[in-house]
Amino acid sequence: MITLESVSYSYPRTGREAVSDLTLDLARGECVMICGHSGSGKTTLCLAAAGILEHEYGGKKAGRIVVAGKDVRDYRDLSDISSNVGILFDDPDSQLIFTTVEEEILSALERRGFSAEEVEERLARVLEITQLTSLKDRPPHALSGGQKQRVVLATTLALGTDILILDEPTSELDEQGTENIVSLLKDLKAQGKTILLVEHKYRKMADLVDRLVILEDGKIRNEGIPATVLEDEAARRILIPDFSGIRNGCVKKGGATPVIHTEGLTFSYGEGDALSEVSLDIYPGEFVAIVGENGSGKTTLVKHFIGLLRPGKGTVMVDGKNASTAPVATLAHSVGLVFQNPDHMFFADSVFDEVAFGVDNLGIPDREKVVSNALSSVRLSEARDLYPRWLSRGERQRLAIACVLAMQPAVLVLDEPTTGLDGSESREIIEILKQLQEKGHTIIMITHSREIAEECAARVVRMEHGRIISDICRGEGE
């Protein structure tokens, strides 16, 4: 259904090939999963296979792409190709144009030459299979990241194309949400759809995938059935994160004062409690994972540690300071918060300046040395003069950690630090965190992946509906 013959491509104004000499063949009803480091050419491969590079991008192109038996050059335009291929890009927000879920799906359907009855019928069906019927009048900004991804998937599925190209359809979804999408994709495959899938969650998708392709620097590194590809050690590490040797034992408390102490912490955004009666003590040098599904209150909790939110009821003490009243800038000396999306912070012209921003704000002396140390801790010393936004997702995530690390906080809080990263990139991030823990930092990591939490952190705090439902510390110690 999709054939790529020696496809190479360089984006305009770049000398480097984003993908080179790709040859790949997808048979009808087959599901092929593409993996690789961030920046290895996965998205470019999707754009190529959907004919988008051919029709919408400049740059240098070579090779031949055949979709549904026809060379992509022979299609009239994108909307013509999209009668055969449904494509989903990785950023859901940029694929939502209208102000309600229903309008959005209609907009995908009403210029396809279907009759009015058929449009209505398809709309109803796709709302049902993507479980969006109850959300059909919601505006996009009132949807969670995961719900937006479902809406965008619905607009793609509504057309009923035989070929689906999906670029990270579950990146914003928690465990339950991912499972729902996987079972939906299984149904589609059973109906004979051909699926080209870019994903990092191989373990969740193993039943679905017929063939694996691992990309490295724009080239195919491995290709074949999963059993064969997994035999290659490096490919295996990309597909299945290996966190062995990371987890330390439980930290001995021995009468120490907690660095973070909350008692009866309750908070509400307006309707219902986002946090209710949360009492938690975290001791210096601990590696704690906070796990829970989307909306369980994880991010709301950690925002209290640095004063971005103030408790409605209860107390929050951080490093001896009262976090209910202390200014954010004061708390920033003790707590460093790395947000989920690193692109929400980069504004400087170089990696060095980006890291120096926080250092200067807090008036930390010895700027040059502090910044260099932070960069070397996250293995980015080489990149110090580069423009932050040119880095790959994995590198940007590490830069975000450096920015906060350079401010020398006792506690580092990371919100979903492995989003969008493959197995070996995730391992790299976690290794960095472990080294920081060994240097004496307290590490608090938010994640919705139970696997990552349990494999990396000695202590796992589980949240549900704004409450802590379990708090388990394993290994030696208490």
Partner: protein, 265 residues
């Protein structure tokens, strides 16, 4: 977070009107507002809009927007006071008891009149436009504009701008929080303020630009530039439209007549 200019589902007076009727309404209100300088006419027009908002169950939203109007009116008054120094002086912006600089910047009756007219015009245009936007589904708007042979690009530009207002508000807030966590503190003085904009504005603009490419692709994939639309869930002119259009025509004729009369005399 307050939602600016977002469609609110409903079934009130404005929701019942056809988007085309509402566009005519906006045009009529704008023309009257711009051509007249009579404070009485402007006040009457604003009151009519308020009554219509009340009838359309959209009064709360309209009143919320008045904060912006008050803020703008202060600026408008200041500008007119500085730029219209001739006429009967009723006071000074800098009271005369302040030594050395006191008694400067006279406030004249003419300036106050001009300021009032500008404020009223501003309030009317904002209210009318807001009533239109919050009561019209973007999809209906796109269809109506398409019927009027306005290229989809322009309509979509407008719709997407509206759609992204809350998204950008939220993203701005997140970026602000991320920078606060890095010890960012908005600078002092004018230069400090300007400098302190960069840490928030640069990521906001860069992220939006990165989004634009995909947005464009999505529009093309959905066939907006090239394909004909299936006729579906069409908005028909209803009873409300059949009453509203002749009414607006009468108002337009009456206004045109009085305007010409005043002009001739």
């Amino acid at each position: 977070m307050a939602e600016i200019l977002q469609y609110i589902p409903g079934s009130g007076l404005f929701h019942q009107l056809h988007p085309g009727t509402k566009i005519l309404f906006i045009i009529l209100v704008s023309i009257i507002t711009i051509l007249t300088t009579s404070i009485a006419v402007l006040i009457a027009l604003l009151l009519v809009l308020f009554i219509l908002a009340l009838a359309g169950h959209l009064f709360k939203q309209v009143i919320q927007q008045m904060v912006l109007v008050v803020f703008m009116s202060v600026i408008l008054y200041l500008i007119t006071i500085v730029t219209v120094p001739e006429g009967t002086i009723v006071g000074y912006l800098i009271p005369s008891f302040i030594p050395a600089i006191g008694g400067n910047l006279p406030i004249t009756i003419d300036a106050l009149i001009v300021g009032t007219v500008l404020t009223l015009r501003f309030a009317i245009l904002i209210t009318a436009f807001q009533l239109f936007v919050i009561s019209t589904q973007p999809r209906d708007l796109v269809h109506t504009m398409e019927r009027a042979h306005i290229p989809a690009d322009y309509t979509l530009m407008f719709v997407i701008a509206l759609r992204f207002i809350p998204t950008l508000q939220m993203e701005g807030k997140r970026i602000h929080e991320a920078q606060l966590a890095r010890g960012y503190h908005p600078g002092e003085g004018f230069i400090g303020r300007i400098k302190s904009v960069a840490p928030v504005m640069v990521p906001l603009v860069s992220n939006s630009l990165a989004r634009a490419t995909l947005l464009g692709l999505t529009i093309d994939i959905r066939g907006y530039r090239t394909r004909k639309r299936t006729s579906l869930r069409e908005r028909k002119m209803g009873m409300t439209d059949k009453i509203a259009i002749p009414l607006m025509a009468a108002v337009a004729i009456a206004f045109a007549y009085s305007f010409v009369m005043v002009y001739l005399s």
